[in-house]
């Protein structure tokens, strides 16, 4: 009996009128945990009842404590008929199980009903007495801290990184059980909510156990996802990075929070992979193993075919991990994958490039929920493949790793992507230390693979920073810009969008056609990205996220990343247009106009993003291949110079990045899309990473928004090109709407802009996105676009008004922010900030209170009355935000960081006047305080700044 859960129901307010006759309500509350239920007295005839109940005590196993939510039901007492439910509150008590997180949950919670939405509020007090029995403790996994944040949480230092943890649980979806035909929608929704809550509790506990086994005490970068597989069931899966974290004592809080201040080791200490690795471990795989940073697509086709069948063997045997990797633990296989995207300086030694894998599966009914082997095996295969890709790039680890799925009927695309990297082994071992050199360094861009045995064709030059090591000409990664990277100019959001039609099909045929399409899509997305990158005179992409969604008759690809100019990489060449029929004079003219437009755009972009690399130096030192020559050389060789390696044909090297052949209708389209990408209005910046490269003076004003759009495509006879245009217009229009809405907040930066697309049913496309805001100046022009199609998008964004060096409240932007702790009932509502970033600019996070992971279902049978689909979804999202805020506030927090809306599934049936929506949100509840002037800049930012601030040294 290792725990005692205590709950007290204090009061209610703003309750709905349940008794028409008296316009009042006779409310009482049921408090349920596991199978035990308590009831309060009925508080008659009031909309603001004061129950002031006794403490209800539940004596429970800590296993249950982790799995089960506390369920509070508010009901209206009815003497003659059945009591009517007003609504429910589910409280996850997990944060109370860790001594470092919250100690009490106390506050007003919105009472939520899946049919009516929020109906009043209830004030609840919850505590847990854990019996401190260490043995017991180990049986469950109470005390393991979870963080959604994909960097080392502020106010902790990492003592040891243990590596990858994953878990997966499956169950039948209550929505598809036979009983669903006879129960009410409310009962069905509640069963589903409860089941998912239970499953995610169980999942978290199981992962916690694994972490304890590994000797860790925390999971960072915890990413939990639901796969609603319909008939075949419900999968909840999670990945994360197990770590041992030490809490920084309050005194040292203001110091560089990420790691300890132990004296830096002399470089000779442990064997640095910096030199030893590339030479000592030539990639054992022939370059045929794909995963170039150039084209992450080529890998797909290699592995796809064998996967389609349900019993396919793993495409590659899992080889033991490369020897030079210095982990003394036996957990080698679990080791090299990290869900983190942001690392302490010195952690990344080299970065190879993006590795990704997709696999198409046919879903089958989950026969035995206790044996989730099939799904496990699928993911295991994918991870093995990712690892082998990384290995081919000469890397021993994958960072910035994430997994996703897209499901349409019985076809499911599993995707995983990450960035191949070499890590500093010191972080994996007990007592990892500060690596010192947090200044700008160029090490991470140096190639990890062998120069003479490259896994793919690339142009290597000597690093523009140190002049000693080789670097590639472009670098694609899924991680955030490392703090030590030196950037020229500013970054910007780069998106590639693609639509491909496919025939409607069933089963294996469908899966095959999808998997045949995938490599082409990836290739095209990649080409688009590359062209857009060149057009902006940039040479690296960070935070790359490629999403491929499957619909009944089309596939959608959306790649987003933040482009930057890394000073250590060579300057990108321009874009050349080539025509194949030079005889035609007017045609030539057309081409030269095009070429001029492109050149102009590049020049303009250089101004806009302030990219002025010191060009002279490159000539002096004499890089092997000067850029201008290179581009022209490639231009000539464009026609049929196939690469030596036929396997890589798909990726075409990078000549496409430079030369666009206009004969090709695709190319015309490409050029059009290049040039019609709407420029960002003056005063706006956008990126999809945590911080905007090149902008450092952030204020603490911030805002988070979610936007969802759904378009309906009128007819299915659309061509690929037509679809592409529509899709691009949709995304552009969405951004345009966003800029317009936020025009009063200029200058601002949309950070962590996160688009999600989905094709919910035939003819519908959904786009979802997350955004963010920041500052500075910029000028540009805009093309009007006409959108059609269906799209869903949500973003979160933050707003930073410009200021020299953020004084506590720069401009009168009274985006009210109070560092109030938990306010008891009656007091004004605590302002709770939400952000998809892992920090709040201009503030300091002093405490992590626990993970928030909530799942809600909302259904209506009176869609028109609720303002149609838009009205329905608008209020639902507002309700979800309100419930998240309430939970954060009840834990004593004032912000939710690393917020993400992982799932937003919307279904409607206008004929029946019905709609249903599912939303899953997560994040870390924290307490933050405003920094004083001096400390106003988050360490991560300051350390990136050049000598100008020196904040690094002073903090």
């Amino acid at each position: 009996m290792p725990g005692k859960l205590k709950a007290k129901i204090v009061a209610g307010r703003h309750l709905p009128v349940m008794d028409r006759a008296s316009d009042l309500t006779d409310a009482f509350v049921e408090v349920k945990f596991g199978n035990t239920t308590f009831k309060t007295d009925v508080f008659p005839k009031s909309l603001n009842p004061q129950w002031n109940s006794e403490w209800f005590k539940f004596e429970v196993d800590d296993e249950d404590l982790q799995d089960e939510p506390l369920q509070i039901t508010v009901l209206d007492h009815d003497t003659y008929s059945a009591n009517d439910a007003i609504g429910k509150v589910y409280i996850d008590i997990d944060p109370l199980l860790s001594c470092e997180a919250a100690t009490v949950i106390s506050g007003w919670f919105p009472i939520y009903d899946t049919i009516h939405g929020i109906r009043g509020e209830i004030n609840v007090l919850v505590k847990v007495d854990l019996f401190n029995d260490l043995n017991r403790f180990r049986q469950s996994s109470c005390g393991v801290k979870f963080f959604c944040t994909t960097s080392i949480p502020r106010c902790y230092r990492v003592a040891l990184v243990h590596g990858f943890v994953e878990e997966l649980v499956v169950n039948e979806d209550p929505e598809y059980q036979w009983i669903d035909r006879i129960r009410t929608p409310r009962a069905s929704n509640e069963a589903r909510q409860r089941l998912i809550s239970l499953m995610s509790g169980e999942l978290q506990r199981k992962i916690g156990l694994k972490v304890l086994e590994m000797g860790g005490n925390a999971v960072v970068g915890y990413l939990q996802c639901f796969d609603l597989e319909g008939e075949s069931g419900l999968v909840v899966r999670a990945i994360g990075t197990a770590c041992t974290l030490d809490k920084l004592s309050p005194g040292t809080d203001s110091k560089e929070p990420v790691f300890s201040e132990d004296p830096p080791h002399p470089l000779s200490g442990p064997p640095t992979p910096l030199r030893t690795l590339p030479s000592s471990s030539p990639p054992p795989f022939s370059p045929s193993k794909p995963c170039s940073r150039q084209s992450s697509s080529s890998d797909t086709d290699l592995s796809l075919t064998p996967r389609i069948g349900k019993t396919s063997p793993p495409s590659s045997p899992s080889p033991p991990l490369s020897a030079p990797f210095l982990i003394p633990s036996q957990k080698l296989t679990e080791f090299p994958i990290f869900t983190l995207t942001c690392f302490p300086p010195g952690f990344l030694v080299h970065v190879g490039g993006v590795v990704s894998t997709r696999s198409v599966k046919l879903l089958d009914r989950i026969h035995n929920p206790d044996e989730p082997e099939t799904r496990d095996a699928w993911w295991e295969e994918i991870r093995q493949e990712i690892k082998s890709h990384a290995k081919a790039l000469g890397c021993h680890a994958v960072v910035g790793y994430s997994e996703s799925t897209s499901i349409c009927e019985e076809v499911c695309i599993l995707s995983a992507s990450g960035t191949a990297a070499m890590l500093n082994p010191r972080f994996m071992r007990e007592g990892c230390l500060d690596t010192g050199g947090s200044d700008h360094s160029c090490g991470f861009v140096h190639i990890p693979y062998d120069e003479f045995n490259m896994p793919f064709p690339a142009q290597l030059t000597y690093c523009y920073h140190c002049r000693r090591q080789k670097v590639p000409d472009v670098l694609f990664t899924t991680i955030d810009l490392p703090a030590e990277a030196e950037v020229t100019g500013k970054g910007c959001l780069i998106q590639a969008r693609l639509c491909r039609t496919k025939k409607k099909a069933q089963g294996e045929v469908n899966a095959t056609s999808i998997s045949n399409l995938l490599p082409f899509m990836e290739y095209e997305l990649h080409t688009q990205l590359m062209n857009k990158l060149k057009l902006r005179s940039m040479n690296a992409l960070f935070g790359l996220r490629i999403q491929i969604s499957v619909g009944e008759n089309m596939l959608l690809g959306l790649a987003s990343a933040t482009g930057v100019y890394l000073s250590a990489l060579p300057a990108p060449g321009g874009i050349q247009i080539a025509g194949k029929t030079p005889s035609d004079l007017s045609y030539d003219q057309h081409i030269s106009t095009m070429q001029k437009r492109i050149d102009d755009t590049i020049a303009k972009n250089k101004e806009l993003y302030n990219i002025h690399p010191p060009e002279c130096i490159e000539e002096v030192v004499g890089s092997p291949i000067p850029d201008r020559q290179r581009s022209s050389r490639l231009f000539r060789s464009t026609s049929e110079s196939s690469d030596e390696l036929s396997e890589l044909d798909l990726s075409h090297g990078k000549k496409d990045a430079f030369v666009l052949e206009i004969d090709d209708t695709d190319a015309v389209e490409d050029i059009q899309s290049l040039l019609t990408d709407a420029p960002i209005p003056a005063g706006f910046y956008s990126c999809n990473t945590e911080v905007m490269p090149g902008i450092y003076n952030w204020t603490s004003g911030l805002q988070m928004f979610t936007s969802v759009r759904v378009y309906r495509l009128s007819n299915a006879n659309l061509t690929n090109q037509g679809l592409n245009k529509i899709f691009t217009d949709l995304c552009e229009n969405l951004l345009k709407s966003l800029y317009f809405k936020l025009r009063s907040m200029i200058p601002c930066c949309l950070c962590h802009l996160n688009f999600t697309v989905a094709v919910p049913e035939e003819e519908l496309i959904q786009v979802r996105g997350h955004t963010y805001l920041k500052i500075e100046l910029c000028v540009f022009v805009c093309f009007p676009g006409s959108g059609e199609n269906e799209e869903q998008l949500q973003f979160s964004m933050e707003l930073f008004s410009s200021s020299e060096r953020c004084s506590p409240l720069p401009e009168g932007r009274s985006r009210s922010l109070r560092s109030t702790r938990s306010l008891p009932c009656g007091a004004p509502v605590t302002v709770v900030k939400m952000t998809p970033l892992s920090f709040l600019p201009g503030t300091r996070i002093v405490k992590y209170l626990g993970i928030i992971n909530m799942f809600f279902i909302r259904e209506t049978t009176s869609l028109r009355e609720e303002g149609g689909v838009s009205g329905f979804l608008h209020s639902f999202i507002a309700e979800v935000f309100a419930m998240v805020r309430a939970h954060v506030a009840a834990l004593g927090g004032n912000a939710l960081v690393s917020y993400s809306m992982k799932e937003c599934v919307f279904m409607e049936n206008p004929n029946k006047n019905q709609a249903q929506c599912l939303i899953n949100v997560s994040g870390d509840a924290v307490i933050f305080i405003r920094e004083s002037d001096q400390e106003a800049i988050p360490p991560l930012l300051s350390s990136r700044q050049t000598s100008s601030t020196g904040a690094d040294g002073t903090t």
Partner: protein, 357 residues
């Protein structure tokens, strides 16, 4: 190909106050888009019509969803659904309860009932204010009225406490509630020239000096009704016209004070008794509800119109009323100084407000 769904939700609800005004004015989305285009919204951020429509729809929906909360503004501060900065909350509430004085003028003194609500169509046509906006304003009046009607204590403060309105706006509402409660006649043709502000000012005077709350400021006060006792005592003032000596004396005193000071002296001298009688009779009749209702029409018919006929200036009326009031104090036999001052103070300021040259 159509946009099926388009929402934009912020953790902090952001609202464009210009769009809010359009919504309050009862415009449809397409009309509002037109207005915004005419105002040059498209020039900002390279927007296009589609962007503008989407933004307008979105904002309108947000306001519509908040409207429920605006009906009880105190809830807006404690609700959890929308995180709205305090300052914006204030603006939202204030603007929601602001009204067109032209509209208020039409409704003033009418019973705030369903019947009146049916007439809103006519008022909408007459004033050019959209029906939707008329309904909102009418419902606001009714809501405020219902809440404060039975409350004890100062009217303005009650309104402020329950509706979190600014002082000025709360005073205007106090006037509306006061008029609706006492059902003063304001609709007669002869009163048409008076604006809402004129009446609001008079209402303020009546509330401040003639209600129970005016004399003793105990918590138990009722501000909505005129003090019965006072109205009863006003009968005593009749002595000023009934007692011939006193009336003559009064006239002599006033004439002495005004001689040479006003251009209309002659006419004043001739009309003094009529004017004085009008004011005193008005006072003595106020015990009857019917006559209370006719207070303003009586003032206009019996006093303001004759003066206007004789082309008095406001300055002259001010002088006259000042001396007329003061002179009564010098009448040795006149014992009702307190009542007199309380009565004349209000009457004087009302007349001055209502006298448009």
């Amino acid at each position: 190909m159509s946009m099926e769904l388009d929402v934009f939700v912020g953790n902090t609800t952001i609202m464009d106050m210009e769009v809010y005004q359009l919504w309050l004015d009862g415009l449809t989305v397409s009309d509002a888009v037109k207005v915004r285009m005419d105002e040059g919204a498209l020039l900002e951020c390279e927007a296009n019509a589609e962007v503008l429509t989407s933004d307008t729809m979105d904002q309108f929906r947000t306001f519509q969803m908040c409207e429920r909360l605006l009906h009880s503004p105190t809830k807006l501060g404690s609700q959890l659904l929308y995180q709205i900065p305090a300052q914006n909350q204030r603006i939202l509430i204030e603007r929601y309860y602001e009204f067109d004085s032209v509209f208020a003028r039409e409704v003033l003194g009418k019973k705030l009932s369903k019947g009146t609500k049916k007439d809103l169509d006519d008022i909408s046509c007459k004033t050019g204010i959209t029906l939707k906006s008329c309904r909102r304003q009418f419902d606001n009046f009714k809501r405020v009225f219902k809440v404060v009607e039975e409350l004890k204590g100062p009217l303005v403060e009650n309104i402020q406490r329950h509706f979190l309105l600014s002082d000025t706006l709360a005073r205007d509402y106090a006037a509306i509630v006061f008029f609706a409660n006492s059902r003063f006649e304001t609709g007669k043709r002869k009163l048409q020239y008076l604006s809402f502000q004129d009446f609001a000012f008079c209402a303020g005077q009546l509330i401040s000096y003639w209600t129970v709350g005016a004399v003793d400021s105990m918590m138990e006060d009722m501000d909505v009704d005129l003090e019965k006792e006072f109205l009863h005592e006003l009968k005593d003032l009749k002595v000023l016209v009934n007692d011939k000596d006193m009336m003559d004396q009064h006239k002599i005193l006033v004439c002495a004070a005004l001689r040479g000071k006003i251009k209309v002296y002659k006419l004043m001298e001739v009309n003094f008794k009529n004017l004085s009688r009008a004011l005193i009779n008005l006072a003595s009749k106020l015990t009857h509800t019917k006559d209370v209702r006719d207070l303003f029409i009586d003032l206009v018919e019996k006093f303001i119109e004759p003066c206007r006929y004789d082309r008095w200036t406001v300055a002259e009326i001010t002088l006259f009323l000042t001396h007329y009031t003061n002179a009564a104090h010098c009448l040795g036999t006149f014992r009702y100084q307190m009542i007199w001052d309380r009565y004349m103070g209000v009457i004087k300021s009302c007349i001055l407000q209502m006298y448009h040259e």
